[in-house]
Every structure is written in structure tokens, then in C-alpha cells.
């Protein structure tokens, strides 16, 4: 096809036109692209930047260090220790983790079963999830792994904080312990702090740890990290450390608590030491105890079963949860109820023939031969039951119950401890409500000597003693200061009892210790400036039937342990200017004067002396025994970590 030059020229011209049209269209497209670019990169850059950051920047929480807990003298009683562990990430190990595990097992003991377990876990998780291989390594193990890290690809030695209780079992019941957050814990909290979701995070489970949880927890810090599309952390952009929880100073005296625990030994017992004026609890010790550190680390089922099966119930906090018939330690309540009502006075005398007969039933005095004529002071000194039987019939249960509550028995005390029991100060209305039965006169007689329906915790007995000693309604308290700021000390109100009446009760308690026929005379303090007042109590855990009584009451030693009487003792000192009130309950210990009083006296002496009781404070014949006892004790040597002691 031959083309003419003219045709050729037309073609070239047309082609030129079309080429320019095409160029125009192309320019239009380029303009569209440029405008779109401008719109995205200049007009909406901020939005896209936010999206990009949202993609790549993640916030990771940093668990805060838990607040420390000190005793009143600044001794550490709950702290945090470094927990060394190693984690392994499959991706970093190059996919196959088994050789790494084998190499690691040459450095730290890892059983074959554990390796199999770990391999199983690795196969389930994504390659970038770090898995904890071993926990709570010693520093030596940890550093040997760190040194060998180049040969252990994928292994990261990490350290975190874990709760530690340097005083082990001494304060276990008051302090409680922490543990990993369970689903149940989360379900109880309405708006859970996100930090609780962190693995390894520890939450207060029992005692002060759980009651002061919000104070102790602190505020979580945060790390801004850059992650890649697989979620793997690439680098840290910024870091804001968490805020450690508040440092809490308790009113407890760890040294005294330690001594009390040692003094009670293996007995199933409880001891409470309270400042008479402020209500500060210096010691609130339940025996036997357990090691809370085991719970923090995850207690083995064997250890746990041993604790559960122990007949002395080491897990129970007998000081506030244990309720006991107060026995004769309750007699001050009955006496004060009588005196306060005006129905009796210091001149009242009752005759004790060894029993009282009411409604055809015979109520025995602990002393079969009777005490003869007894006045109020002597009634306490010799703990004459008949005096109180007579008194109860005149005063009536309602006044006794009311006085018990006034002195702190049968009322709740607000303490940051778990399951603080309320106890029972019975009266007619209570029995009607509880049993739907009318009050019997026999109930009054039993209640008058702290038997029957009356139930009190060792804490309440200490409160009662402190209130009698001070004449004011002191309340127990446990928190001394938070972050160095002392907790306000509420001025205790006056009990509203006439001082003369209180002096009579105190005199009776003094006579118990120092009177010629005092039931606890043997446990007296021989130093006059620490002169001690107290009251013994022995409460039955079974009824003595008439038949048994006829045969002669079997002595406690002949009974199986769990059927023996509870031994109780309350006391305070110094008599003239009271400082400390102490209550001791020895479960199934036998007599209050023999089992409880010596313990209470020694603890009281430790509190007064602020150290090991001086031997000259006890009667000369007991000094050798005491010295031997102290030598056998395994006491902490105090190492104060914070200055400023207070014993207010």
C-alpha cells in the first residue's frame, strides 16, 4: 500500500494532534494523582499518622512494686525480693527449642518431665511468646545462665519482684499473704485495675495484705513500645516507672511478736498485746503458724494438706477468729455490771459453800470446799464462782451483756484483718432471736462466769482489759502510719464508769497476782514499778455431768488433748500507770493460772522491758527456768532499717 506524500502529511498532522490530546489526558491523570497525594499527605497526614502510630505503638504495663510494711520500729515485715527467672522465645531460639533446653538443663536442674511439659507448651503457643522455663533461681544459677547466654539462643534471664516475708511465720496471720490473681479474685472486683491482668502479678489474699490492697498495690507504670506486624516488640520508645505502693507502718512490734510466738511454742494458743492508752496492737500472734512465703511461691499440695490436717489449726488466726468462752476472765464484766447497777457495792458479801442451788440445779464453785464469805476483791482474787452466781441472779443478764459490750466483748472491732469475729455478749433478746427460747436463770449463772453462751476472742479480752485499766473505750488499731504520715489517733472516750468502781475491779485483778491467795500469784512480776494485775480463766469445753462429778472430776492431764479445758489469762501492767494489756488463750491448755498466766506475764515483761525480760522481774525461784527458756529460744536480732522509734 503506497501512500501519497499528501496522505503522509495528513497522517503526521493527525498523529501530532492525537499525541497532544493523549498528552493532555495523561497530564490530567497525573494531576489527579498529584491532588490525591496532596490530599492524603498534606491535608490528612495527621489522621494517617495516628493510625500508623496506633499500628506500631503499644502500651505495656509495668507492674508497680508493692508497698513495704514495717513494724512500729521500722523493721521490715513484708518486702519485695528479686525473683530471678529465665524465659525462652521459640522464634529467637531458631524454631527448635529442645537443644536449648538440654543445654540449659546442664546449668540448672530441669527434669525430663518438665522438658516434655515445656515442649508441649511451646508447640501450643506462638513463636514469639516468651515462656517461663524456671522460676526463683538462685543468684548463682541466674548468673551462670546470663554468662552462658550466647550459647543459649532465645533465652532471656529476667528479674521481677516477688513478695517476701522476712519474719516467716511470726506475723503470718496478721499480715496474710499475696498470691497470683485468680479469675475468682477478678470476678469480685468491679472495675479491675488492668495491672491485675499481668501474669506474675500478686494480689493480697488474706489479712493486712488484702485489707490494705489498694494502698499497697501502687500505680502501674507504662512502657511505650514499638511492635511489628506480628506483635513482636522491636524497641522501647519511652518508659514511665510505676509508683510503688504506700509504705505502711503497723503498730506491731515484730520483736515482741517474735518473742510471743517463741514463748507459745507449739501450743495451740493466741496472744494479744495492746497499748492500754492508744489501742495500738503490739502483738497479735496465733500459734502454731505457717510460712506465708510458701503461699506466695505456690504451696505444694503435701504442705497444704499438712497444714489443713494439723489438729492445732495453724491456718486459723485464733487471735481474732477464735472464739472462746472467756471463763473467769469474764468476772470483771459481771462484777462491774453489778457495781454499776448499784445493786452491790464494795461492802457486799456473799457466802460461798462451794455451790449454789438454783431451780433445783446445783451450780458448783471450782473450789469444792467453798470460799466462805467473799467480798468483791476476794471474788476476783480467788475467782469464787458462787459470788458471781449470786450476783448474776440480782443483776440479770441484760446488764451483764450490756457491760460486756461496753468493754468490747460481743462487738465488732474494725481491724484490717481477715474474718474478725464479733463474739457473743448474750442477753434475753439475743437468745430469743437466736434460739427462739426464753432466757433461763441457769443461763445467767453460766454467763456470769464466762461460760454458757458467752464467747470472746483473745483480741476482745485484751480490749476488755485495756478498757478496765484505762477507764476509757480504747479501740484496737493496727495501722500506725502510711507513707510516714501517722494515722490520726482518735481520743478514746471515757467508759462512763465511776472511777471508784473501776478501781475495785483493778484491785481485784491486782489481788489475783499479788494477793496472798491470788490464783495467779506464782506468775506475778516481782518488780514493784511493773506491778501487774491480771485474771485467770479456765473454760470448759465439755459439760461435767453429775455422775462425773460424783466420781471426782478427772484431771485435765488424764483427758485427750482436745477435751481439756482452755486456759485463759488477761493482765496489764504497770498497775499504777497501765501501759500494756495482754490476753493469752491456750487452747486445751488446762488451767489459766498454770498454762496461760506465765506466758502472758513473760510477754508483758518483754513489752515493758522492750527486750528480753530481766530475770529480776520474776520471783527468784523461776529465774533459772526463765533463763533456760530464753536460751532455748531462737529469736531474731533486731536490725532496724528506719530510724524513729515510737512506743506511744
Amino acid at each position: 500500500m503506497k501512500k501519497s506524500p499528501r496522505e503522509k502529511q495528513d497522517g503526521t498532522r493527525k498523529l501530532g494532534r492525537r499525541a497532544l490530546m493523549l498528552a493532555g489526558i495523561q497530564l490530567g491523570v497525573v494531576t489527579t494523582l498529584a491532588l490525591r497525594l496532596r490530599s492524603m499527605q498534606l491535608d490528612h497526614a495527621e489522621e494517617y499518622r495516628l493510625l500508623a502510630d496506633g499500628n506500631s505503638i503499644k502500651i505495656r504495663l509495668l507492674p508497680p512494686a508493692r508497698g513495704l510494711i514495717h513494724d512500729r520500729n521500722g523493721l521490715l515485715i513484708a518486702g519485695n525480693e528479686q525473683n530471678y527467672r529465665v524465659t525462652l522465645t521459640r522464634e529467637e531460639a531458631g524454631g527448635d527449642v529442645e537443644p536449648v533446653l538440654r543445654r540449659l538443663s546442664q546449668l540448672i536442674p530441669i527434669s525430663e518431665e518438665r522438658i516434655a511439659e515445656l515442649l508441649e507448651e511451646f508447640s501450643k503457643r506462638t513463636a514469639i511468646t516468651p515462656i517461663v522455663l524456671a522460676d526463683r533461681l538462685s543468684w548463682e544459677q541466674f548468673s551462670s545462665i546470663a554468662v552462658n547466654a550466647p550459647a543459649l539462643s532465645g533465652i532471656t534471664p529476667e528479674s521481677g519482684l516477688s513478695r517476701a516475708y522476712p519474719r516467716a511465720g511470726d506475723l503470718a496471720h496478721v499480715m496474710g499473704y499475696v498470691g497470683p490473681v485468680s479469675d475468682y479474685d477478678l470476678s469480685k472486683i468491679e472495675d479491675p485495675d488492668p495491672v491485675l491482668m499481668l501474669p506474675e502479678f500478686q494480689l493480697g489474699k488474706v489479712g493486712v495484705e488484702t485489707k490494705l490492697e489498694t494502698l499497697l498495690r501502687g500505680k502501674a507504670g507504662a512502657r511505650r513500645v514499638e511492635v511489628n506486624s506480628a506483635g513482636r516488640e522491636m524497641r522501647e520508645l519511652s518508659r514511665q516507672e510505676g509508683e510503688q505502693g504506700a509504705t505502711v507502718q503497723l503498730t506491731l512490734d515484730a520483736q515482741l511478736q517474735n518473742y510471743a510466738a517463741q514463748r507459745m511454742g507449739e501450743e495451740s494458743a493466741a496472744a494479744v498485746v495492746m497499748n492500754v492508752q492508744t489501742g495500738d496492737l503490739l502483738t497479735i500472734c496465733s500459734s502454731p503458724s505457717f510460712d506465708p512465703n510458701k503461699f506466695v511461691r505456690g504451696i505444694s499440695s503435701a504442705d497444704y494438706r499438712a497444714l489443713m490436717d494439723h489438729d492445732h489449726r495453724p491456718l486459723a488466726d485464733k487471735t481474732v477468729q477464735g472464739l472462746y468462752p472467756p471463763g473467769s476472765t469474764f468476772k470483771m464484766v459481771t462484777l462491774l455490771a453489778g457495781l454499776d447497777s448499784g445493786l452491790i457495792n464494795s461492802g457486799t458479801r456473799y457466802y460461798c459453800p462451794g455451790y449454789t442451788e438454783v431451780g433445783g440445779r446445783r451450780f458448783h464453785c471450782w473450789r469444792r470446799g467453798g470460799h466462805g464469805t467473799v467480798d468483791p476483791i476476794q471474788s476476783l482474787e480467788q475467782s469464787c464462782d458462787v459470788f458471781y452466781y449470786e450476783l448474776a441472779q440480782r443483776v440479770g443478764i441484760d446488764r451483764i451483756g450490756a457491760m460486756a459490750k461496753r468493754l468490747g466483748i460481743g462487738v465488732p472491732h474494725d481491724l484490717p484483718m481477715s474474718a474478725v469475729a464479733e463474739g457473743i455478749a448474750p442477753d434475753r433478746a439475743w437468745k430469743r432471736a437466736r434460739y427462739d427460747q426464753p432466757w433461763q436463770i441457769g443461763d445467767s449463772l453460766n454467763a456470769s462466769i464466762g461460760q454458757g453462751f458467752v464467747l470472746a476472742s483473745p483480741l476482745q479480752l485484751a480490749v476488755m482489759t485495756a478498757r478496765i485499766a484505762s477507764g476509757r473505750a480504747v479501740s484496737p488499731r493496727l495501722v500506725h502510719a502510711i507513707d510516714g504520715v501517722p494515722e490520726p489517733l482518735p481520743e478514746a472516750e471515757a467508759l462512763g464508769l465511776d472511777e471508784a468502781l473501776l478501781r475495785m475491779a483493778r484491785g481485784g485483778m491486782d489481788a489475783v497476782m499479788n494477793g496472798p491467795r491470788g490464783t495467779a500469784r506464782r506468775s506475778r512480776i516481782s518488780r514493784e514499778d511493773w506491778r501487774m494485775a491480771g485474771k485467770t480463766g479456765t473454760s470448759q469445753v465439755r459439760n461435767i455431768t453429775a455422775a462425773e462429778r460424783a466420781r471426782g472430776v478427772i484431771s485435765n492431764e488424764q483427758l485427750p488433748w482436745n477435751r481439756r479445758d482452755h486456759a485463759l489469762f488477761v493482765c496489764y501492767a504497770p498497775y499504777e500507770s497501765p501501759r500494756y494489756a495482754v490476753s493469752v488463750v491456750v487452747e486445751h491448755g488446762g488451767g489459766g493460772s498454770t498454762a496461760a498466766a506465765p506466758i502472758a506475764r513473760d510477754i508483758l515483761l518483754f513489752a515493758l522491758a522492750d527486750g528480753l525480760p530481766p530475770l529480776d522481774a520474776v520471783p527468784a525461784d523461776q529465774r533459772a527456768d526463765m533463763e533456760a527458756r530464753h536460751a532455748a529460744m531462737n529469736l531474731y536480732t533486731p536490725q532496724p532499717t528506719a530510724p524513729g522509734r515510737s512506743r506511744a
Binding site: 500500500m1 501512500k3 496522505e7 503522509k8 495528513d10 497522517g11 503526521t12 493527525k14 498523529l15 501530532g16 492525537r18 499525541a19 497532544l20 490530546m21 493523549l22 498528552a23 495523561q26 497530564l27 491523570v29 497525573v30 489527579t32 494523582l33 498529584a34 490525591r36 497525594l37 496532596r38 492524603m40 499527605q41 498534606l42 490528612h44 497526614a45 489522621e47 494517617y48 499518622r49 493510625l51 500508623a52 502510630d53 499500628n55 506500631s56 514499638e226 511492635v227 511489628n228 506486624s229 506480628a230 522491636m234
Partner: protein, 379 residues
Amino acid sequence: MSYLDYQVAQTPTGLRKILYINWPLVLLLSAVACVGFLMLYSVGGGRADVWAEPQMYRFAVGMVAMFALAFVPMWFWRGVSVLSYVACLLLLVAVELVGDIGMGAQRWLEFGPLRLQPSELMKIALVLVLAAYYDLLPLRRVSRPLWVLIPVALILLPTAMVLKQPDLGTSIMLMAGGGIVMFAAGVSLWYFAAVVGSAVGLVYAVLKSRGTDWQLLEDYQFRRIDTFLDPSVDPLGAGYNITQAQIALGSGGWSGRGFMQGTQSRLNFLPEKQTDFIFTVLAEEFGFVGAFSLLMLYTLIIGFCVFSALSNRDRFGSLLTIGISGTFFVYFAINMGMVMGLLPVVGSPLPLVSYGGTAMMILLMGFGMVQSAHVHRPR
């Protein structure tokens, strides 16, 4: 024009041809390729040996090929146009029969160490054969229906085969490249209006056909349409790529986040960042300044080609230049439109920048022919 015509026209001969090469075009192509090396180095995480070095090697080979082709006289290209078209068609058939499956589509042919993508070769061959066709066809017949049908058939035959692979991106490029040559040759605008009209109708039919027995596209293609229309429908699935690409692009801002500092690219949020989505890496790290500069480089390349075509009195050389530069234009326009969310994701690389051997070789060979047309143009 005959062999004699070329001789008569005062075209340079021998090594003197090198003086007549379109040097600004060479410079522009190298500049674009350098942008590519830089981005591939960044995408490789600061390592040249991952992407950048092989790409440089290929570019060097491609440049040598371009210069070699530039020396080949025009009559040769016209002479081999039909042959090359037929050869490419046969290769496409061969791919259909024995081709390797790559990226979910049959695209590759293996000849020992050589991996061939016939559909890429076809882009050039189609432009060649159409340019030769319109060089022969008298102008008065250009718009006659019968004479329009022949080039349409020439276009649709390979397009259909490529679409069957399936490779939507390349088939669009083939149609666009062929259409551009027809447009430049002077085919009546009514035909183009009719094509645009029926294309709109076809799109409607395609969308309508979904879920019926006569469904016209693969399911994955429908999903791409869905995600194009609204990427947020499935931000972690099919829409993930385009959403992440737009985040990368937009977050670049005016001057970008800095070389190798783009979080979207460095932290692997971007998909296929060394190939189809490499423009987003540039836009993220160098911002509007970088992205617009690349766009301008491309525009200048087109500009120089159009200028070369306008100054070329040889119809075949002119059409060849417009066809190849037009294909090149569609290449980057589709890629940029795609990553900016203006077009659906069709899977087309950014020419000379995306990592990939065949595409770069073919493009540089194409520009070799453009150079040849420029060097040998009748003056």
C-alpha cells in the same frame, strides 16, 4: 518507508548514533531507577544484598540492552513486528500449557536459568505490531470498521489469554497500550466512546453476575472490588493491604518520616513492600516531597517521549514511541492509583522501581526501541 527511505534521510550511522541518543531520557530513567535502589535498600532493612543489589545488576543489564537496541535501525523493528507478536502469542500458549504457578497465576516460563514472562514481552510486541499495522494502513481506512476490527482482534487475543492466567493487571495494560496506539493512529473517537460506553456496561454486568452461574470474574477479583470500594469492610483480611498502604502513604506528611524510619514499612505492616507497594514506602519515608518528585520524574519521561514522537516524521517510530511511553504511563498510573485508593488492587508494579527482573528488562528494551526511533528519526 523502505530501507532506501531511511538511507536517504540523514540518519546517523555507526557509533555516531550515540550522540543522537535521547540523553535526557536516559538520565530520567536512571534517576527513577536510583529512587528504586534507595527504596529497595530501605525495604531490605538497610541491607543492599537483599533487594537493591540484584536490582542494580538487572538495571545495568537492561541499560546495556537499551543501548544495544537503540543502535538497531527502525526498519528492523518494523520487519520483526509481526514475527515477535506471533512468537509472543505462542509463548502465551506455552505458559497456558506448562507454565509455572507464581503468585496464584500462571505467568512464568522456565528456560534453564531464564525465567520468562511472555505477558510482559507481549506488551512490547503488541505495540510493535499495531505501530507497523498503522504505518502500512492508509489514513483514510483507519476508521473503517473492518480495518478497526483487525487491531481490536490483535489486542483482544493476547488480552484474553493473559486474563485467563489470570492476570488482570497485565491484561488491562495490554488493552490500554493497544488502545493508545489506535488512538494516536487516528481511529475515530466514536469508537473510543463506544468502548468506554460498553466498558461501563460491562462493569455493570460483571457486578450483576456475581453469585450467578455465569459469574464473569473469579471470587478473589470480586473481593478485590469489594475492598476497593470500601477497604474498611475487612481491615484484617482482604482490605488489610490497601488500608495499611494508605496509612503508610498518608502518614508520610510533607517531608516524610525519614529514610529507613517508616514504621509501616520497617515493622512489616506493609504488604509486598518491595514490589507493588513500594511507592508507599517512598511516600512514607520521604513524604509528599519524595512522592511528588517521583511522579514528576515519570511525567518528564512521558513528556520527553511525546516530544520525541512529535518531532519524528516517521509514522512507525512515532506510534512506537507513543505506544511504549503510553504503556509506561499506564503502568505507573495504575500502580499509584491503586496504592492511593483511586483504583482497585490489580497487582501491577511501579515501573523501574519495584523489585522484579522481567518487567525492568522489558521496559528498558521498550525504551531501547524508543531510543532507536529517536536516533533514526527522519530529520
